[in-house]
């Protein structure tokens, strides 16, 4: 029983981490909180649905297409909406509204597509899950090891990209100081576009694995956006490694916390699950607004060590 809950929690945390990394990446480069990030994941959810229910292929083949579509959606948001607005000198608030508006457009297209699937092909396209399409490793479902291995390897690849390649170094330079980087001959626009594409692809990957274990709906992404932001803010919004920490922390507390509280207090507590990431976010903003990555742990450990 607990084993299954723990597996679910880790699976959810893996996917949430992929989402929060993307969110932090775009925030670090362009300094815009992207409210449409959740819907890139929903795009992945519907790609997985199409591949399994419509084309009768293995669900994991959607991992080949979903990153492309997610990345394309993110890239078009940056290229066609945010960049022209930034060139016009739009304020931060208008850029945030632009991402919200893009989210609405995506959301309505996803809803239209869901209706289309139901009416034309008689496929259940709302509040569905694709548990039946999961592979089996022994008697266990494959999603747990696959999501774990996939997210850890993606994190390592991203780490290597940022630290070992020339492009990664120019990306970090752009994050540190965009004008100085462009003076040094770095194509900052290319860096920004790439970061948006990577963020969208990671969201797409997370999205197509999500319905295997959890419920998929056109508004899954928009309801998850609070958790994603909570994860990124707990991690500090300006640090990819913080986003990893925040993603696992929020993902695990959200699932485990809800389940343990339900065991103690009864099942009425389950619908209040969205409040858990919010509380984590509020505590972080009140105590350490720059997130866990900003806290000087060495100093705290030293202080407690000297008291003993």
């Amino acid at each position: 029983m607990i084993d299954i809950i723990l597996r679910d929690a880790i699976t959810f945390a893996n996917l949430l981490t992929l989402l929060s990394i993307g969110l932090s990446l775009t925030y670090m480069t362009t300094k815009i909180p992207n409210f449409a990030h959740g819907s890139f994941a929903t795009l992945g959810i519907y790609i997985a649905l199409t591949i399994t229910e419509l084309w009768k292929l293995n669900i994991y083949t959607s991992l080949l297409i979903a990153p492309f579509f997610g990345g394309l959606a993110a890239l078009s948001l940056y290229k066609f909406i945010l960049k022209p607005l930034m060139n016009k000198g739009a304020s931060l608030v208008s850029l945030m509204i632009a991402t919200l508006a893009f989210d609405l457009v995506l959301l309505s297209f996803l809803n239209i597509y869901a209706d289309y699937l139901t009416k034309t092909f008689k496929i259940k396209s709302r509040v569905f899950n694709l548990r039946g399409y999961d592979l089996k490793i022994g008697e266990y479902s494959a999603i747990f090891p696959i999501s774990l291995i996939l997210s850890i390897s993606l994190i390592i690849i991203l780490h290597l990209l940022l630290t070992k390649t020339k492009f990664g170094i120019s990306m970090r330079a752009t994050i540190e100081n965009p004008s100085l980087a462009s003076v040094m001959g770095i194509n900052t626009d290319l860096v920004y576009s790439t970061s948006w594409f990577i963020a969208g692809s990671l969201a797409g990957i997370a999205g197509c694995l999500l319905p295997i274990r959890f419920i998929g709906n056109p508004d899954t992404g928009t309801t998850m956006i609070a958790s994603i932001f909570a994860a990124s803010i707990v991690g500090g919004l300006l640090n990819i490694y913080g986003a990893i920490l925040g993603g696992y922390l929020i993902g695990l507390t959200e699932v485990l916390g809800t389940n343990y509280l339900a065991m103690w207090f009864g099942s009425w507590i389950i619908p209040y699950r969205p409040i858990i990431p919010l509380i984590a976010m509020v505590i972080t903003l009140l105590l350490a607004p720059k997130g866990l990555s900003s806290i000087n742990w060495y100093k705290i450990i030293k202080k407690f060590g000297s008291e003993k």
Binding site: P33, F35, K88, L92, M96, L104, N111, A226, I233, P289
Partner: protein
């Protein structure tokens, strides 16, 4: 029965009044002070939930209707009885209407305070994220905690205008809503022309300069959010009275946060007349879509509602890209007339 056109017009006017109040409050927060309130739905839902839970219970105890009944489980029966009793008691009807609106405003202000407190000192993007996340909380609670407003089934609201009766009741309710909306319009106009209004614009245009002149930025933002949320809650309360039911599910992000945002941006932020125009255009367009829904529906393989949402998203993006100042842009601040200044100088010289 009234003709369809008249009903359509009355309904349009009622929605216009509700949305005008909410867009004006958002204009105060975003247009004049620059606070990105992406959680407007919180205040609106707060006001509506007050109307769903308080006046019904109050009258239930006051009128001493069969005490064995439970307010939530026998809601329809109790509320029907209350409305029936209210028909003959005009002073009680009006006082319960006004009292509910006052309580809604107070609850709205408290919600505004709670929602903005964690991030009020941080940059506007953190504030926006926090407000957006907070906006969802009340709906989650309302949907899952039946004692508040009957959970996902919702509750009925006693009708304080039942004493009018017949076709006129609809019209009078709408007119009184419009009256309240106009009062709020006048209040906001006076507010922004006062010294406080100039302070708000200073906070929006240059935070550093404003704080260098001794203005406490977080306090000003918080006050504005509290006033804005109180006004938003009045809008929600009026909507609840108008539809005479409160269902938690209807208080979603799209209807009560993004629609007002589009109205404010389309009409022109920091210009109340522009905002009123934007509200009229958008409410009109939406009502027409709903009115002609049956006409479109057979030709589309999907629900017309999504077309409505698509329109909202596209209009928002187009406005931001091509007309960020809105239809009627912000006017320069009123200053003292040249002749008046000359007069003052001449008076000084005489002395």
């Amino acid at each position: 029965m009234l003709p369809v056109e008249i009903i359509f017009l009355i309904d349009l006017l009622a929605s216009f009044s509700v949305y005008l109040i909410i867009s004006l409050s958002l204009n105060l927060e975003f247009g004049y002070t620059g606070v990105p309130n992406f959680g407007k739905v919180l205040a609106v839902a707060g006001g509506a939930f007050v109307v769903g839970s308080i006046p019904g219970r109050l009258l239930f105890n006051l009128m001493q209707i069969n005490g064995n009944l439970d307010f939530i489980t026998h809601n329809a029966l109790i509320v029907a009885q209350i409305t029936n009793n209210l028909k003959t008691n005009i002073p009680l009807s009006l006082s319960i209407f006004i009292l509910s609106i006052i309580i809604a405003a107070i609850v709205g202000a408290i919600l505004g305070f709670i929602a903005s407190y964690p991030a009020i000192r941080l940059r506007e993007d953190y504030l926006g994220i926090t407000l957006l996340a907070m906006g969802e909380v009340l709906r989650v609670i309302g949907n899952n905690y039946p004692p508040l407003i009957g959970g996902s089934l919702g509750v009925q609201v006693p009708d304080p205008f039942a004493w009018i009766g017949g076709d006129l009741r609809f019209a009078i309710t709408t007119l009184s809503m419009l009256f309240i909306a106009i009062l709020i319009f006048i209040y906001v106009e006076f507010l922004i022309r006062s010294p406080l209004g100039r302070t708000l614009r200073a906070v929006r245009d240059n935070e550093i300069a404003a704080s260098a002149l001794g203005k406490h930025i977080p306090m000003i933002r918080m006050k504005v959010l509290m006033v804005g949320s109180a006004l938003g809650a009045i809008g929600g309360a009026l909507y609840a009275f108008y539809t005479s039911a409160v269902i938690a599910g209807t208080y979603n992000r799209v209807d009560w946060t993004f629609w007002p945002w589009t109205m404010v941006l389309l009409g022109g932020a920091a210009n109340n007349i522009g905002v009123a125009l934007g509200t009229l255009i958008f409410v009109g367009a939406r009502k027409l879509i709903i009115f002609y829904k049956g006409f479109f529906a057979p030709y589309l393989p999907f629900d017309v509602v999504w077309l409505d949402m698509l329109l909202l998203g596209i209009v928002l993006i187009l406005v931001l890209m091509f007309k960020p100042e809105g239809i009627i842009p912000e006017k320069p601040t009123y200053t003292i007339k040249v002749n008046h200044i000359k007069k003052i100088i001449e008076n000084r010289k005489k002395v």
